[in-house]
């Protein structure tokens, strides 16, 4: 009887492997969202409740745009979390008092133009959130340069204009170490999510700890900025890594899978290049901050890096060494076959 039931059973056939890691795209994206909660909390704490509105509007616009774009492209809409990540990241790189209509335009641009027009998740060349920010910066320059000082209470809608640490009008009255602490905790002017280096670092460590991102890009990126500003006279390396959006960019944007190189070597090049560009833009460029553009520029280089930096495959012998390898094999074989100690003479022959 057992055999009969077995006979009728239809089996599923597919290629190996037949088991799978628990990791999937959706989970990765929600872990990133979780890590992003930290900078969001920082944004609300320093710039008031309005920032929550900015984040929500950005995320909702992103989702609606994605839905509509998928409809237009006749593709299935799936909530894989990547849209939420883009929405949050876009909100975090905006000034705290940005009008909501600008948020809507920007978020829609991120998804419709930067992501979906290129083919959707996995096919975009540029980081959508940063490209969106660049779009808003060139379209509404005045909105993107009006910064406020941290608010006194979360519910407050105050907007006392203040310069960001990297802006020209910035000066700090207290001691240098006090300034470092303020920068670390984020009690300074700046974008919603970029001011608190500490919260971003915690979020970044969460991502590294859960294996979502690798240490390479953030470390090399921040390290390059530190070293270069240390070498260039008149610059303060600690100030440079803590101020501005470097941490947010290093942990959450430069590590974007889609737009950074895949190989370890490629990632080193990418991160170093981005670090170099930040320093060049900040010190020699006309803009106070260069994180967004440094990452966008390196995004453009990613396909080139990936094309030329391939890992050395197992058992790869470069063509010029191949003849040498064969010679070695032959001498080795002859060596063993003769069963005598001729290795010394062989080595001499090889040298000749």
């Amino acid at each position: 009887m057992a055999e009969e039931t077995v006979d009728q059973k239809r089996l599923v056939v597919s290629t190996s492997p037949h088991m799978h890691d628990k990791k999937n795209t959706e989970k990765i994206m929600y872990i990133v969202c979780l890590a992003l909660l930290l900078p969001i909390i920082g944004g609300v704490y320093f710039f008031g409740i309005y920032t929550i509105l900015v984040v929500l509007v950005s995320v909702i616009t992103a989702i609606i745009t994605e839905f509509l774009a998928k409809r237009l492209r006749k593709r299935e809409f799936m909530m894989d979390g990547s849209t939420i990540v883009t929405g949050i990241l876009f909100a975090l790189v905006l000034p705290p008092r940005i009008p909501l209509w600008a948020v809507i335009i920007g978020a829609a641009f991120c998804i419709a133009i930067v992501k979906e027009a290129f083919g959707g998740l996995g096919y975009n060349i540029f980081n959508p959130a940063l490209a969106g920010r660049a779009f808003i910066t060139v379209s509404f320059a005045s909105l993107m340069t009006s910064w406020i000082a941290p608010v006194t209470s979360i519910m407050s809608l105050d907007s006392i204009t203040s310069a960001t640490p990297l802006g020209e009008g910035f000066s700090y009255a207290g001691s240098t170490s006090d300034m470092y602490i303020e920068l670390l905790f984020g009690n300074v002017g700046g974008c919603i999510g970029e001011t608190s280096a500490l919260l971003i670092l915690l979020g970044g460590l969460l991502l590294i700890g859960t294996g979502v991102i690798k240490w390479r890009i953030p470390t090399i990126y921040i390290g390059t900025v530190f070293l270069l500003t240390w070498i260039i006279p008149g610059q303060d390396p600690v100030f440079h890594i803590l101020a501005g959006g470097l941490f947010l960019g290093a942990f959450f944007m430069a590590t974007d899978y889609v737009t950074c190189p895949m190989t370890a070597k490629g990632q080193y090049i990418f991160a170093f290049g981005a670090g170099l560009l930040v320093v060049l833009i900040r010190i020699y460029g006309s803009m106070p901050e260069g994180v967004a553009f440094s990452i966008l520029l390196m995004n453009a280089f990613t396909p080139l890096i990936d094309r030329h930096i391939k890992p050395k495959p197992y058992g790869f012998i470069p063509p010029e060494k191949k003849s040498k390898f064969l010679l070695k094999k032959i001498t080795k074989t002859a060596d063993v076959a003769d069963n005598s100690d001729q290795s010394d003479t062989n080595k001499k022959e090889e040298k000749k």
């Binding site: 089996l11 599923v12 190996s16 037949h18 799978h20 889609v258 895949m262 197992y314």
Partner: protein, 439 residues
């Protein structure tokens, strides 16, 4: 990191699920009928030397080797050849002939050709005995063993590596062999070292089998041979048991692309094969059965010795039957095993495990270029590029990424967050390139 340690290679860490590790090897009841495909190994299919209606005994040769890289096949039951059928191979999916034998239940053996003085056997006699016994690599690749033991004269073998890694989840057949037949394995190794005139050997076992490591160490130290045999404990990482990864881990050497371990003076052999060599030389028994791990969604997972050609359903029934919701049957492990179309598929020489499970495949999503496949690849390849090129039918570009170097271990697809069946794309790419090469 490969920068600091040239013995390291990438891989993944799937859950071991070795639920049968403590189950002693049992003998499955004799099959009522066996189906013996003529292609149970890599190389030319064997040629049948029996016809419909012939009476055969256990161990009787029923098919001759079809070439140099080929192996004979022996009857695994006594009975009558009922028919010769065409069937789809459970390994390659190619159509080939198979001999069907109805068992008479008597289990009559042929007179075994047992060598009298083993010490006096010449190398040629040993090789002939191994060839006649139809021994092939039992790790899964089923490469004819007598071919592996006759390297071309310009390839001097200086090291033998015995593969006891068993890195595939679920499978415990080699593990149990090392625990219960360790002496036979060592004797088989000694024969092999003698044939290859090589006195260095390593037995590589993953550290998740401490009892097997202990047992093999004990057996090696108690034996009084002059050869140098080292039992190595290796980290439990998939695919440690792939011969190229194993070779790198133990010796720090890499087999050149497109080459074989013998190109670096090494022969890698599975522990099961050594046991088969021992049986053939000391007992004269040809290869007619093997240990099969039956695991996954069966009532009583077991390690059973079963005759080749037994329909899987008979072995599964012996293990209490499969769970009602199970709809996948795999010959081999979950990482590289081959899903079968029917529970009636007969086992072959390469079937080291029958795994029953529920289908858990998910829908393929867009590649997010996370690089997990690149990180996981033990051959240091970029598997995602194969997917991109195969999707666009740009097959010639596959060679720029050394597709032939891929061992299809499945580490890339295992870790892929987008559930992309990378191995499938790679197989399509390889097949397409082969087709073009043939024309």
């Amino acid at each position: 990191m490969s920068l600091f340690n040239n013995k390291q290679s990438h891989g993944v860490h799937p859950p071991g699920n070795k639920i049968t590790a403590n189950k002693k090897i049992e003998r499955a009841p004799l099959p009522k009928k066996v189906i013996l495909p003529l292609s149970q190994h890599i190389g030319a299919p064997s040629k049948a030397i029996v016809k419909k209606g012939d009476e055969v005994k256990v161990g009787q040769k029923i098919a001759e080797a079809g070439g140099f890289v080929s192996a004979p096949i022996h009857s695994t039951v006594s009975g009558k050849v009922s028919k010769i059928i065409e069937m789809i191979s459970s390994v390659t999916s190619n159509v080939g002939n198979a001999i069907v034998i109805d068992a008479d239940g008597k289990d009559d053996w042929v007179k075994l050709n047992k060598p009298s003085k083993i010490d006096k056997l010449s190398k040629k006699e040993i090789l002939d005995q191994i060839k006649d016994a139809g021994i092939v690599g039992l790790g899964g690749a089923t490469f004819p063993t007598h071919v592996k033991l006759q390297p071309p004269p310009d390839k001097k073998i200086d090291t033998i590596i015995i593969n006891g890694c068993e890195c595939e989840p679920y499978i415990t057949s080699d593990h149990r062999l090392m625990l219960e037949y360790g002496e036979g394995i060592l004797k088989g190794l000694e024969i092999m070292m003698n044939v290859l005139s090589c006195n260095n050997a390593y037995i590589g076992i993953e550290s998740n089998k401490p009892d097997a490591i202990e047992n093999m160490k004990k057996i090696v130290s108690e034996s009084n041979n002059s050869n140098e045999i080292i039992v190595e404990s290796l980290p439990a990482q998939y695919p440690m048991g792939a011969e190229k990864t194993l070779l790198k881990k133990i010796l720090g050497l890499e087999v050149p692309i497109g080459g074989l371990p013998m190109d670096v003076g090494v022969v890698v052999q599975n522990v099961g094969t050594l046991k088969a060599i021992y049986d053939a030389i000391y007992e004269g028994i040809p290869l007619i059965e093997r240990v099969v791990t039956v695991s996954g969604a069966v009532k009583e997972p077991k390690n059973v010795i079963s005759r080749f050609g037994t329909p899987a359903s008979e072995i599964i029934d012996y293990c209490g039957g499969s769970a009602s919701n199970a709809d996948v049957m795999i010959f081999g492990g979950p990482m590289m095993g081959i899903a079968q179309t029917s529970f009636e598929t007969p086992t072959t020489k390469g079937t080291n495990s029958i795994l029953i499970k529920k289908n858990t495949k998910e829908i393929e999503n867009n590649c997010i270029r996370c690089g997990t496949c690149v990180e996981n690849c033990p051959m240091n390849l970029m598997p995602l590029m194969y997917v991109a090129y195969v999707k666009k039918s740009m097959y010639d570009d596959l060679k720029d990424y050394w597709i032939d170097n891929c061992v299809e271990c499945g580490s890339c697809a295992y870790g892929c967050p987008a559930n992309i069946p990378l191995v499938q794309y790679i197989k399509v790419g390889k097949a397409e390139l082969k087709k073009r090469g043939d024309n």
